[in-house]
């Protein structure tokens, strides 16, 4: 009887913990649910069924584009799945109004999230001095901060200390020549310095990453 009581209270405790976790993460769970649904759709083989289901999916999840609930990794995953779905639809029979609408929606999503599909043509126009506009720099910096914040959320998942996040951020800056990771690393280094940490080794890595980034830019120019 006593064991039964202990088990019941343990059951209640564990259920309460998991319910609270679900409550706290309900937004994230909503996103994962949507991604999971899109993944199910991408696995379908019938192009008509895909068209219907993707149409429904967009009707429910288009708001994600304005609500900024997606992490960069989510945007990447969704973009890839939509690319695969687009391939299925294009390979399917005929082009109905519904199909065209879905393809347009996919294009709109890819453009809004910065994943433009199709052939990329690089052209170089005549050189000119960049115009600087105060309002532009403010909005550009704002976007950069938002992106850094999302990157930080991605990198900090499961880490025990900020130094581990900085380490990953620097790796990303070097390996991927990721400018946002470079900016985030600089911000983290300064934050840690102000809080009394020894940051010299990280500053050296930051400078090396910065050099690589500059070389990369020069090579592309």
């Amino acid at each position: 009887m006593k064991t039964d009581f202990s088990l019941r209270s343990l059951e209640g405790l564990l259920e309460a913990f998991l319910e609270r976790m679900v409550h706290l993460k309900h937004r994230r769970l909503g996103v994962l649910g949507g991604i999971n649904r899109l993944d199910d759709i991408a696995r379908y083989t019938d192009s008509n069924e895909i068209t219907d289901e993707v149409g429904d999916w967009f009707a429910v999840h288009n708001r994600w584009l304005t609500e900024s609930v997606l992490k960069p990794a989510d945007i990447d995953r969704i973009g890839k799945m939509l690319g695969e779905i687009n391939g299925h639809i294009s390979a399917g029979s005929g082009s109905s109004p519904a199909t065209r609408k879905v393809v347009q929606e996919i294009d709109r999503w890819q453009k809004k999230t910065g994943r433009i599909r199709g052939k990329l043509v690089l052209k170089r126009g005549s050189e000119s001095v960049e115009k600087s506009d105060n309002s532009d720099t403010i909005s550009l910096f704002g976007s950069s901060l938002e992106f850094s914040s999302a990157l930080f959320a991605d990198l900090s998942g499961g880490k025990k200390h900020l130094l581990s996040v900085l380490d990953d951020s620097l790796k990303s800056a070097v390996v991927q020549k990721n400018k946002q990771a470079l900016l985030l690393s600089a911000y983290l280094i300064y934050y840690l310095k102000l809080n009394g940490y020894i940051v010299d080794p990280f500053v050296k890595r930051l400078k090396a990453a910065e050099r690589l980034h500059k070389e990369g830019n020069t090579a592309h120019a």
Partner: protein, 75 residues
């Protein structure tokens, strides 16, 4: 498409949301190798696993109690 581990992780969290703890534990089991170093995910996985074990134990005890109740009236 999502890799099997990512897919299992999504399914596990959705199962948790609908309080299907047994399915959640099964899916977490499949996703576990992908989240070896993620403390938070490991904690949720472990709690789910223990909860399922507790429920199983309670179900066994309940069925034992029913058998005793059924036996008693007939001696």
């Amino acid at each position: 498409m999502l890799n099997p581990g990512e897919k299992a992780y999504c399914q596990a969290l959705l199962a948790l949301k609908s309080k299907n703890y047994r399915l959640a534990a099964e899916e977490f089991e499949k996703a576990a190798p992908l989240f070896k170093n993620d403390r938070e995910v490991n904690l949720i996985m472990e709690k789910t696993r223990v909860l399922v074990a507790v429920k199983k134990k309670l179900a066994v005890e309940e069925s034992d109690a029913i058998e005793v109740e059924e036996t008693l009236p007939y001696g």
